[in-house]
Symmetry: C2
Subunit: 150 residues, 2 copies
């Protein structure tokens, strides 16, 4: 994968790829019990009767896993991933127990600040499962420092 | 708060209000260790040296708490909250240990399906802390069934 340290090194179209993470039924139920206590995320039998027709991860659990994968991949080297905001969260297929998930990212815009020594980077990330089916997309806006003049 | 059961009962401008949830330093660190392992979310001393100048919740933790508050408030009665997608996530102030959080929501658009017995509801939710400072906004799109003809 690409790994760069400064805004100045980035280009539109640059791609990133993260490692993999496997999600379990236990993970799905534990997250849901704390943050999204609805039948399709909590219990196999109850989930079978919903439109998901089986246990599926909370969309916010999927979003949190995406953050983990992005952070671990260090797309901008030592600079933290601090989102100013995120647009276009879309859950395109259920995330199921046992799924193995990863993200591909592509820089879609770069805007240098006119007043500060940084720029904003917009990356469109797509999460895929082990069948290369897209399950989730999101497009965060991140601030990355410019290289200091030498 | 307003609580209604069917798409047909909803109106643009209708408002919702959730209960409160208090977040602790322990909650912040535990979520971060699992999903967003960056210094500003993991450890007070390390966080003091970041631009947050102290421990702050991961934005995805804030997002998950918002889902919990929304689910518990049952804005659409027995119908589940199933997001087709979410736009406009913006974190507008840090969420700190001890903060007491709640959401206010307002329906911003209603679109009946032309082919199916449901409609899409767009609610703009804003999370406030105990000082009525807005800390987070998000705008999910939810599908709610229409009342069956009698």
């Amino acid at each position: 994968m690409t790994q760069v340290e400064w805004f100045d090194d980035l280009q539109v179209g640059m791609r990133f790829k993260t490692g993999d993470l496997q999600i379990t039924a236990s993970d799905i139920k534990r997250f849901a019990a704390e943050f999204d206590p609805q039948p399709m995320h909590l219990d196999e039998d109850a989930a079978a009767k919903t439109l998901f027709k089986g246990l599926a991860a909370s969309g916010w659990h999927t979003a949190a896993i995406a953050m983990k994968l992005a952070v671990q991949s260090r797309p901008f080297g030592p600079h933290p991933l601090i989102g100013m905001g995120v647009d276009g969260l879309r859950w395109t297929a259920p995330v199921r127990p046992g799924d193995v998930l990863h993200l591909d990212g592509e820089i879609v815009s770069l805007t240098p600040s006119s007043t500060k020594p940084h720029g904003s980077v917009v990356v469109k990330w797509t999460m895929y499962n082990q069948n290369t089916e897209p399950v989730y997309t999101f497009t965060p806006i991140t601030i990355i420092p410019r290289r200091l003049p030498s």
